[in-house]
């Protein structure tokens, strides 16, 4: 049967170009697995990350007939993180594939990571055949049930005619409104079954339109404020609203801080950028928030790592909160003005109400600047000998302005955020909400595939790097251009730091060993180097930078270095622990 319904339907999509690139594909009578591939292709998908198994075999059988590039990872968790990294770096939907049972359960950490950080992703899992479902069959798991809290939506497709429209719909859900991961579970026999028909159903209308009274009220508050702060989150990057952010800051003379995921939404060089707040944020930034009279929070959700004790957070401030997810408004902090909107649209709207603005905040900026002087001096004196700072400086200096930094979770993540100078838009990629150790290396695979000619550096701890280290094989096979800096302190450092502060230095199960990374990399046919304290950090970074493709440098750093300052969990800026001499 000529599949005309499909062609007509395709007209309504903008990714026509991609279709044009593959004129060889003809629409013939097809089976479920072919419909799956066609849906991916019609979404403009180039790369998939996955791992086969019994229940997804029909899909893998169809795959080679389509111009879709499949990256075989060495673990399904890594496939999910790679799709996530790809999505974060490109703004497009990442795709990962797994089989039923253990394949699907291995994806879960990746789904949860993407869900927490609002990353658009589609995960396709094979399921046991329809007659075997509910029978505790071999490799049967309730994937839909398991993934419920970690997905924006999920589908079990039991009708082969529904495969194509459902996968298209999954993409639209993943990227619309507040982005997130969507799961499509497909029983094996459905992948084999013949399709007769396909239609494309629209989803329900996304996001309500922007309330203009809110925009005007927000503009008015900005005009009146004497001590305003803009707090920018991941939503700014997701909306591509970096320019609007800078315009708004410049127009009103407002200092800008970011969340961890908002980092790199504004160049760290910008004179109005003052740093980031929260548990390990600069003391001066936390104090500025404590004193500000207006907090303009955009595309962020007042995570507890930012607020600490929410009742004592920004106690003197009126709050403008802009988020695309209406259920975020008032969840943690009650806004004076709450606006449900895309960050870009909202900031543009507010700018439209800001024709004439007087600069009321010169003395506020001066006050903040003064409070930052001692911090800057402290950092400058520490710079020459302090491992983490020098390593960050060396990567920036040697790899250049185009470098993207993908960090894992722990002390090194905080040092990266504190000391790396982010000047490139969307160049900081990390698991913020879930704090997933093992994220960085596979996520960097997605980033490197998206931007093969641009430098990608992973900064990981000696703990986290071992959680997905098997991906060296994928990296070698794909010839990916990734450099890794391990900040090796011989500890699960962040946990050790908490033990030092709050558990009387009882280092229970935090000392950590690992392989000799030089030998380990060599076993994969890859290059590695070890740098001991006193070794030439800059030389090692240069070596890695000049090595073609992959290189790993294992920097042995001070084992008991801490991340300062620190506001203990649930406390406020007045309880901040600062570094003492």
């Amino acid at each position: 049967m000529e599949n005309t319904a499909h062609k007509a339907d395709f007209d309504s999509f903008d990714n026509f170009d991609n279709f044009d690139n593959h004129p060889a594909i003809e629409y013939k009578p097809r089976i479920g697995s072919e419909a799956m591939c066609e849906a991916l292709l019609d979404e403009g998908i180039e790369h998939l990350f996955g791992y086969p198994g019994g229940a997804i075999m029909p899909f893998y059988d169809a795959l080679p007939d389509y111009p879709l590039k499949h990256v075989l990872t060495r673990h399904e968790q890594a496939a999910a993180h790679a799709a996530d990294g790809y999505a974060r770096a490109t703004g497009e939907v990442g795709v990962c594939i797994a089989t039923s049972g253990p394949g699907a359960t291995n994806l879960v950490t990746g789904l949860a990571t993407a869900m927490m950080d609002s990353v658009p992703m589609v995960a396709i899992t094979g399921q046991v055949g329809r007659p075997a479902m509910g029978m505790d069959s071999f490799q049967e798991t309730n994937v839909m049930g398991m993934a419920l809290p970690f997905t924006k939506h999920s589908f079990l497709v039991e009708d082969p005619d529904e495969l194509y429209p459902t996968i298209r719909r999954a993409f639209e859900i993943a990227r619309s409104g507040r982005p997130g991961p969507v799961l499509v579970d497909v029983p094996k026999d459905v992948q084999f079954a013949a399709c007769n028909d396909n239609g494309y159903r629209r989803l329900k209308e996304a996001v309500p339109p922007i309330a203009s009274p809110g925009l005007e009220a927000a503009a008015l508050l900005l005009k009146k404020a004497k001590k305003p702060i803009i707090l920018a989150g991941h939503g700014v990057t997701l909306a591509g609203a970096e320019l609007e952010l800078v315009r708004l800051a410049e127009k009103t003379g407002t200092p800008v801080v970011t969340t961890l995921l908002g980092l790199s939404a504004i160049s760290n060089d910008h004179p109005l950028y003052i740093g980031w707040p929260g548990m390990h944020g600069q003391a001066s930034v936390n104090r500025a928030i404590d004193k500000c009279d207006l907090l303009f929070a955009v595309g962020m959700r007042f995570d507890d790592r930012i607020t600490g004790n929410a009742s004592k957070f920004a106690p003197n401030a009126k709050v403008i909160h802009i988020d695309i997810d209406p259920s975020e408004l008032g969840k943690v902090v009650k806004p004076t003005v709450g606006i449900t909107a895309d960050a870009k649209a909202a900031m543009r709207g507010i700018l439209g109400h800001l024709d004439s603005v007087e600069d009321n905040c010169a003395s506020w900026r001066e006050e903040i600047k003064k409070s930052q002087e001692s911090e800057k001096m402290h950092e400058e004196t520490a710079r020459p000998e302090y491992g983490p700072i020098r390593i960050m400086d060396a990567i920036k200096e040697i790899a250049g302005d185009e470098v993207r930094l993908v960090t894992d979770v722990g002390q090194h993540q905080m040092w990266s955020a504190q000391f790396f100078k982010f000047t490139k838009k969307n160049s900081h990629i990390t698991s913020g909400g879930l704090g997933t150790m093992g994220f960085a290396l596979p996520a960097a695979m997605g980033v490197a595939l998206a931007y093969p000619d641009e430098p990608v550096w992973v900064v990981a701890g000696d703990g986290g790097i071992q959680m997905n280290i098997q991906e060296l094989a994928t990296i070698r096979d794909m010839g990916l251009n990734i450099k890794v800096a391990i900040l090796n302190n011989g500890y699960l450092g962040m946990v050790r730091q908490w033990q030092q502060f709050f558990h009387n230095r009882r280092y229970s199960s935090t000392p950590m060993t690992g392989p000799d990374y030089e030998i380990f990399a060599a076993a994969y046919g890859l290059a590695g180097k070890t740098i001991h304290p006193g070794g030439d950090i800059e030389e090692a970074v240069k070596w890695a930078n000049e090595t073609e493709g992959f290189a790993i440098v294992d920097f042995h750093i001070d084992s008991e270095a801490n991340v300062y300052p620190m506001i203990p969990s649930g406390m406020s800026v007045s309880e901040m622990i600062e570094e003492h001499a």
């Binding site: 809290p149 924006k152 939506h153 209406p326």
Partner: protein, 82 residues
């Protein structure tokens, strides 16, 4: 947990029929720790209707309503009488 008020606010929701939409709806109540005092469900093949009573301030209830409304297979959420 959100503060309680002792007086429950009724919310009604219509969603896609079948067990999956209902499962996601119930999971969301539990996942976001909504203070559900009472729940009535009439599940149909085409459409399911649920009535819940939440023990929390009105403003919090409204936030929960928008959260439920955002679920892809929830069609409508409203306060009866409004």
């Amino acid at each position: 947990m959100p503060e309680t008020t002792g007086t429950a606010i009724a919310i009604e929701a219509k969603m896609a029929g079948g067990i999956y939409a209902l499962n996601r709806f119930l999971m969301t109540l539990q996942n976001k720790r909504m203070p559900v005092k009472n729940l009535e469900v009439n599940m149909g093949e085409e459409e399911t209707k649920a009535t819940i009573r939440l023990d929390c301030p009105h403003e919090t209830a409204r936030r929960y309503m928008s959260l439920l409304e955002l679920l892809e297979d929830v069609h409508e959420v409203w306060e009866p009488g409004n």
